[in-house]
């Protein structure tokens, strides 16, 4: 292949940043969580790219693990979100500000 690795890295960085911004501008807990997933995917892309760059598989293995982690996180996260929704009837994080100051 002839595409410079850096291109993929830039894309990954972009995705990561978009995810980051998403966490900050969205209010729906679910969407925020999705943005986090986007960040993770950005990182994964970087890992794979690096693995290609260094010519070893560690990056891919790490990506694999991060997917597992993501899966687990999603389970826990969604459980919490569901639970919160049951309790407060909303998934809007701005409404969750009892604890402050």
């Amino acid at each position: 292949m002839s595409t410079p690795i850096a291109y993929f890295l830039v894309v990954s960085a972009a995705l990561f940043t978009i995810g980051t911004v998403g966490v900050m501008v969205r209010r729906n807990a679910l969407v925020i969580f999705m943005s986090v997933e986007l960040q993770l995917n950005g990182v994964n892309l970087a890992l794979v790219a690096f693995s290609r760059l260094h010519g070893n598989l560690t990056g891919q293995v790490l990506t694999f693990f991060s997917m597992v982690v993501a899966a687990a996180e999603v389970v826990v996260g969604l459980a919490i979100i569901v639970y919160v929704f049951r309790r407060r009837r909303t998934a809007n994080v701005d409404d969750l500000a009892v604890l402050r100051w």
């Binding site: 925020i32 970087a46 790490l62 996260g77 919490i80």
Partner: protein
Amino acid sequence: MTPEVDLGPVMPELILVGAGIVALLVGVIARRAEPLLLLFIAMAGVAGAAAASVLLWDWEGGLTVLADAIATDRFAVVARLILLGVAALGLVLGHHYFQRSGELRTEFYALVLFATSGMTLITASADLITMFLALEILSLSLYVLTGSSARLGSVEGAMKYFLLGAFSSAFFLYGVAMAYGATGSTRLAEVATALGGRTGSMALALAAMVLLAIGFGFKVAAVPFHMWTPDVYQGAPTAVTAFMSAGTKVAAFAAFMRVFNVAFQPLGWDWTPVIWALAAVSMIVGSVLAIAQTDIKRMLAYSSIAHAGFVLTGMTAPGRTGMSASLFYLLAYALMIVGAFGVVMLVSSRGEAATSLGSYRGLYRQSPWLAGLFSLFLLSMAGIPPTAGFIAKVGVFGAAIDAGHWELALIGLLASVVAAFFYIRVMVLMYMHEPSGDHEPDASLAPRLALAIPAVGTLLLGVLPGLVTDFLSEASVIRW
């Protein structure tokens, strides 16, 4: 090539997980399982893990095992032991807490054990991948524990903790990726050699260093990655707060030190200023903001932020001095914060009934012993001799000044003057006012006996720090 499988160095984790699964099964199978039985199982697990770690003190095998995933050094041993101690106290307190609040879930014990296994594992990880996994294990367990009460605060805390936690672990992972990108490996030792030999890419390495610092900074609640702390500490069931405030910090700091003193050791000149800055702002912000708090748990949360700053101060000193100082501080901090939150739990008798500062009015009248314990812990936090806090403070600041960071030490000490203000404000309430509240503090004996341990520890380390300092400085070299 099939790597030799030597489980000895991970025996503590295996035992913890094993015990956790047993507790879980017992809880599931025997629905009417006697909580005490579960507690016993869990404690047995902790004890076993402790024993296993002690055995590791004189490990003859390689520096790292399991394909370089796990370090076998004494640093890990000491960190593990501190964490296991915290876990034991956390279990007892939690057992009591949830029984009283009637929210006892059999999963609690298992979760604490899993979280602990994550904490201990992270301290022993010699590989960023393992470290990341361990980090996630402990984080996920803590999210759940935080939300393990039906209270709104608890739920909201869990939510915030989770969202921000996931957010920060993304940064952490990115850091790992950058490190890998810079050196082509995630093994701390190899990263170090690559950077030391200038074969790695500095730019990426620096980025990796910063991103990992951010990830750890979040876990140890260093400003400006601290903002979850007050909310979560306040929201979580007090017993859980006690457990995680101590556990997370100790574990995260252990990993922090390992990564920065091994993998990024060649970048020492570059990361010391970062740590310096984090330390300074943490101490200042933590101390100042605590002044304005009206809820004891929030106040302690802010003080724990300040303490993170103190430990970071110790980290600015390179090598053994800094590390042993920081380790000692972590030990002292673990004792006093667990103790303090334990007292808070007892004072607010049932659930979170009374966590406002106001409910400490005239505590001395209601229960002199509780007041005495609390003042002991608070004084230790303020660094007044003869408590562990004093020795710890002298240690870290001494190390920092030794390394030429006397300005940082001065900032820290002035910050601790500010901090003293809100510590003594609580003591003013306890001693110099008459009881106003109608509520009585929880008078049950078991948790008090449990709290006697950190109390004695705080005093003992204040008077005879020599008991541990030798071990600590023994443990404060990370070979690779």
